[in-house]
Symmetry: none
Subunit: 278 residues, 2 copies
Amino acid sequence: MESADRIGRLGGSLTKAERRVAEVVLEQPQLVAFGTVAELAAAAGAGAATVVRLATKLGFDGFTELQSSVQHDLANQLRPAAQRIREPVGTDLVGRHLQLEQANVQTSLGSIDPAALADAVAHLADAAARVFVLAGDNSRGVAQQFVVDLGALRDDVFVLDGNEIAVRRQIALLRPTDVLVTLDFRRYERWLVGAAVDAARAGVWAVTVTDSLLSPLAAHAQRAFVVAAAGAGPFDSHIGTLAVFNVLVTGVADQLRAVATERLDRLEAVWQHALTDR
Amino acid sequence: MESADRIGRLGGSLTKAERRVAEVVLEQPQLVAFGTVAELAAAAGAGAATVVRLATKLGFDGFTELQSSVQHDLANQLRPAAQRIREPVGTDLVGRHLQLEQANVQTSLGSIDPAALADAVAHLADAAARVFVLAGDNSRGVAQQFVVDLGALRDDVFVLDGNEIAVRRQIALLRPTDVLVTLDFRRYERWLVGAAVDAARAGVWAVTVTDSLLSPLAAHAQRAFVVAAAGAGPFDSHIGTLAVFNVLVTGVADQLRAVATERLDRLEAVWQHALTDR
DNA sequence: TCGGAAACGGAACGCATGTTCCAAAGTGTA
DNA sequence: TACACTTTGGAACATGCGTTCCGTTTCCGA
């Protein structure tokens, strides 16, 4: 996209109002392709003159030329619509991933049991429970991502980190009211199983995200979500896992929003503040 | 397509010149969406008045209304999923996420520029360079996931962690041969920008994964990947980011496999060992 | 061959839109 | 605080466009 390239190139030298217009150009190309200067200006909360100034700043002769560029891009984009689907199948790096990751998301979310989801969300939204996440090295990243998001919604969300000794010591201190989230894939360390067994003995309610219902962790968990983790490269893809986590986080957010919107409002305020900063 | 329907319905009662115009409308919708009455008339070998007559005959108020109809159809056809998602708000939690995350993967991977990908992979596979990943709190998880995977393929992959002071101190020690990977989303901390600027001054080659080409970090990076991060809940979804990271990791793996398969073989051996353990 | 009506396109009209200019508001500096 | 500069949006201007009207051409039946 020619216009997107130019915007990205000299995005830094744009003024505030010009940037607002540029964002609309990037996010709503139809508006500039089909619309008028006045409409684009209104959508960006700017004046018509600002729109024209941005166009010239981007190297176009005026809004008309910018519009032509966007129209050209859109026309090219929709022409092969049916044709382009067939061309890049599987051969290239990106196409391979595209198919694979789509399938991962599809099967991971598609196999979610509503009852299990509701149960897991209820436990994760329980303010009386502390939430601990136990993951192996290979998926510690997505685990931490889950902890960050969930931790923004509620208190007492922790990732069990460190070496085997440290983790098992933490698990020994769990209370029966606590909730444990385990991540289990084929290539994980064996001692995680032992840690999970310890937690189960302590009466901790557990949910596991695994790539197989036959995983040992699933046997010791009250609920299990099976995700697809097929990777195009040498490693597993954790996109399915992250998708499931996102569903859980949204579910908890919905549930907690009804009970206590105050915390989310505070978060929104922070975000809005950070948003306007930029 | 509304216009196509109407043309087909009363196609028999069209005059010769009107039929020529109608054919152009069907075969070159862009011409009527982006063009003018005169251009459409010229393409059909007819007069401007004939174009307007056809439009009214089809039940439209005039050419303008016909044009709006075609534009609306094209716009709907353009948005593959990303924006269409927002209109029919999914009823259930899982279905909403399924649509949304599929769209995130689709647009994130679909907008990858092959040249940028090849360039980024080449830099990330460069054994002489150290790789540093700079991310805000909200996406530290996916960043760490990337570091773990890439770190299994090559040496010297680090995440820049900790508070502002610690990070900027680390950045001050970067060498011009190093590579920096930055993650930039709307809700991020401002000091990340300052850190990225410092790195740019030091001559470090940088690639950024962002949700907008207008992000300040994109301005200071040699390459940028734009991902879709729309979330169904209160937070951004990092699935698109993770998908791009997976592509990068696979690309590096392919490249390094040709040069030195030895390290990957060792990794495979470890994995096989862990596999049989279970 | 003639007459009438339908079809068609060119040209003038009026309006919407892009462009340009300028004054006001904002921002940083001495 | 005052000043210079940048940024911004409103209003006038001019261009291009859609619409409409009307004269010409084509077609068909008598």
